[in-house]
């Protein structure tokens, strides 16, 4: 098979890994994560500003648009460290919106938005709908074009950080074809956003009602770019969430190890019981596989064919690894694991949301099988 990924890193990637490791650890202690659960915004605006100043939102944006001119490969270590520290903010949704603009946006659209994003403006994608389908081309929200303006209708679900986003890129059907519409949040009518209750309490998600939103026809991506835009979004999202989940798996395993090394039962440190020790080793092995796939996916990003195989392997492995490690973390913490105070549940819930957003391990495997065996 010649479409298997390879592993490698770039200097910039490793530098960013070092910076992000310290930044995310220092700025996102778990007490802070928990205090933000009850916060409407869901993140610390000052830290968000710092992230903008660090240029992290500009990494994968071309220099022509005031970006750093690197690729998603260099975004990976940042997303990984954010996931590791349960740091939740519009970084991911904004990065994906930028990728969408790069894949589908016209020169003018890119020029209008990418510099803003590179400078720290939040953005997001509105793709999912009530059918629950992971196939993003299966949508019902629609737009009617007439005389240079488009009138939208329908609902989009699981739109992350919509209230913070200056730009919402929504998929709608126009004349039966999937199109992408650039919507300024400020242009949304009153009450268009409904905050959703999602399984991951650290995330912020909204249902967006498009009814009555009108925009100029040149706020649409070119129809000819829809397919590659959808593909780019799916891959970028897979890579980004794989990074977050891999970081999360590392951290939930470390969290469990800490408990296994200190908690005593029957007069013994419980980490000496093979009933807890060996499954933890198995989870650790699966995590290392996930991390290997993650940096293979980052390295193979952009290579035709290889890129998708590597990203889906990373997504599948990180989702199953994160889910299992967090599930066992709850169990191995015993009674404490059953409480909201135990961090294991934060990770378990986050893994569920990530799988829901990009498609769980089984879904990734079904897509992979076609790439590998057909």
């Amino acid at each position: 098979m010649d479409n298997l990924g390879t592993i490698g890193t770039t200097e910039e990637q490793i530098e960013l890994m070092d910076v992000a490791t310290n930044f995310c650890r220092d700025k996102s202690p778990v007490e802070k994560v928990r205090s933000l659960i009850d916060d409407d915004l869901g993140y610390d605006p000052d830290i968000w500003r710092e992230i903008g100043e660090l240029g992290w939102l500009a990494i994968a944006i071309p220099e022509a648009h005031d970006g750093v001119g690197l690729s998603m490969a260099e975004v990976v270590p940042i997303a990984e460290q954010m996931g590791r520290n349960l740091m939740s903010n519009p970084f991911g949704s904004t990065t994906l919106a930028a990728q969408a603009l790069l894949a589908g946006g016209s020169e003018a659209q890119q020029a209008a938005w990418l510099p803003k994003i590179a400078a720290g403006a939040a953005a997001t994608l509105a793709l999912r709908e009530d059918n629950g389908d992971w196939d993003l081309s299966n949508i019902d929200a629609s737009g009617v074009e007439s005389g240079g303006t488009v009138t939208l209708s329908g609902k989009k679900q699981l739109v992350l950080w919509a209230d913070s986003a200056e730009l919402i890129i929504a998929s709608v059907k126009i004349d039966g074809a999937v199109r992408f519409a650039l919507i300024e949040r400020s242009a949304l009518p009153e009450g268009a956003l409904r905050r959703e209750t999602v399984i991951d309490e650290t995330a912020r998600s909204y249902e967006v009602t498009l009814d009555g939103v009108t925009l100029s026809a040149d706020a649409l991506f070119d129809a000819g770019r829809t397919r590659e835009t959808l593909e780019k979004i799916e891959l970028a999202a897979g890579l980004l969430h794989a990074a977050e989940m891999t970081g999360g798996a590392q951290s939930v395993i470390d969290y469990t190890l800490e408990y296994l090394k200190t908690r005593k039962q029957f007069g013994k440190i419980i980490g000496s019981y093979q009933a807890l020790k060996h499954p933890t080793v198995n989870n650790y092995v699966e995590y290392e596989k996930a991390r290997t796939h993650l940096y293979s996916a980052a390295n193979s990003w952009g290579e035709q064919g290889r890129g998708e195989v590597a990203v889906r392997m990373a997504a599948a492995q990180s989702h199953s690894s994160y889910s299992t490690s967090a599930d066992r973390a709850i169990q191995f913490h015993g009674g404490f694991g059953f409480t909201h105070d135990c961090d294991a549940q934060l990770h378990r819930r986050k893994a569920i949301l990530s799988g829901a957003l990009i498609g769980d391990a089984a879904y990734q495997r079904s897509k992979l099988a076609n790439l590998l065996f057909d």
């Binding site: 992971w134 196939d135 209750t197 999602v198 399984i199 015993g334 404490f336 769980d360």
Partner: protein
């Protein structure tokens, strides 16, 4: 000992019970009913279930086979079984007062004094007196025998200091069955323990609610600081606490005492998940058209069917010759782990909707499956973790040596 009813008598009673539960069972009060007595979170839920238990008791379908003189129905246990079948048939809500009816009641009926029977039984049947259990402690989750809560005799009182945790209904209970240490010099940790029927409305006893990983409440931690209770509360004599506690576990497994009736835990109805699967769509196709899902679902059906049939097989000595303790001891392990796996598996049916949780209008089945999955850990952890259960099966059914 009440007489065994004739087939006709039993039939009449069963039909009455059937009719009663058909008419009176409320399946959807407009809010989510707890599946177990450990999940009672809101006042609304508590009040509803308390009223329901009283209503069932007053209709004669709870404690029907417990002694008349203490508030029971005095009937043969076949009657109660018939009533319980009717509850199951109509998917009736759980009985709230689990620790009272399932643990304390049988113990008192088995070993209690006349006064104790008079004092406690009726109140637990009609749910007037809610009971809770005080075995686990924060530092001894799995190691019950190592309980450290201190009970010091002082005249005709005991002075209690320490803390208990995972107390279901602890903040609503009138009594607690309490495992406390009366002797710190005993030759082994078990011999130092004593068992109390402990009143909760006493100075020095306070509770704080524990927020569960589901975001709901249902357990409390109970604190004892110089709480004084009458020495009469001691049950079974000093130093016999461990054997009393073990007895309650036997009763729970259905030994000796006649069944009080009803159920404290609703068993997950497998068909519900089959329904969810049948009604789920994945990438535009019915989920059960996806052979990978079909295959997994089929394996779960095999598992579920095996565990359900095991309950019958357990009562067939001819199929229980080899390792007779195996089936009884493995049941909790197998069932609770299966429910955890199954509820987790169900999240994979939901596509992007799996992102929603209880409280969102877009959540599938109001988030029932997410909640059930998260709650499933209460059973794989509580009452002896699955890891402890494997030790128990290994040592008591398979004869493997203890792990030191």
């Amino acid at each position: 000992m009440a007489d065994k009813p004739s087939a006709a008598e039993l039939k009449d009673y069963a039909e009455q019970a059937d009719a009663w539960f058909k008419e009176n069972t409320v399946r959807d009060p407009g809010f989510m009913l707890p599946l177990t007595f450990m999940e009672v979170s809101t006042d609304q839920q508590f009040d509803f279930l308390r009223d329901w238990q009283r209503k069932v008791y007053e209709a004669g379908y709870l404690g029907a086979s417990w002694p008349k003189e203490y508030g029971g129905g005095g009937l043969h246990s076949e009657y109660q079984r018939a009533a319980t079948r009717a509850m199951k048939k109509y998917d009736a809500p759980i009985m709230l007062n689990a620790i009272g009816n399932g643990w304390a009641g049988p113990l008192i009926l088995d070993l209690g004094s006349e006064e104790q029977k008079q004092k406690y039984i009726k109140g637990m049947l009609n749910a007037e007196d809610i009971w809770c259990q005080g075995f686990s402690e924060p530092d001894n989750g799995s190691d019950l025998g190592n309980a450290q809560l201190r009970a010091v005799k002082d005249g005709d009182e005991y002075v209690l200091n320490g803390s208990k945790i995972w107390t279901s209904l602890g903040d609503r209970a009138k009594y607690m069955i309490l495992l406390a240490r009366t002797d710190f010099e005993a030759e082994n940790k078990y011999k130092g323990l004593s068992f109390f029927l402990n009143p909760m409305q006493v100075d020095g006893i306070s509770t704080s609610r524990i927020k569960k990983l589901t975001g709901e409440y249902g357990f409390v931690q109970t604190f004892f600081s110089d709480a004084r209770i009458s020495a009469d509360c001691l049950f079974g004599g000093e130093g016999n606490g461990w054997s009393m506690a073990m007895k309650t576990l036997e009763y729970e497994r259905g030994a000796k005492v006649k069944p009080v009736g009803g159920f404290f835990v609703k068993e997950l109805d497998v068909m519900e998940i089959v329904e969810l699967a049948k009604n789920s769509v994945r990438n535009g196709k019915p989920l059960l058209d996806d052979p990978v899902m079909r295959d997994k679902m089929t394996q779960y059906m095999i598992d579920i069917q095996a565990l359900n049939l095991n309950n019958t097989r357990r009562r067939m000595p001819q199929l229980m010759q080899d390792k007779p303790m195996g089936l009884p001891l493995m049941n909790k392990l197998a069932r609770t782990e299966l429910i955890r796996e199954l509820t987790e598996f169900s999240l994979g049916f939901q596509g992007t909707k799996a992102g929603y949780y209880v409280g969102d209008e877009n959540a599938i089945d109001d988030g029932y499956w997410h909640r059930s999955y998260l709650n499933s850990f209460s059973a794989t952890i509580g009452g002896g973790t699955s890891e402890i259960q494997r030790n128990i099966v290994a040592e008591h059914a398979l004869g493997l040596p203890k792990t030191r």
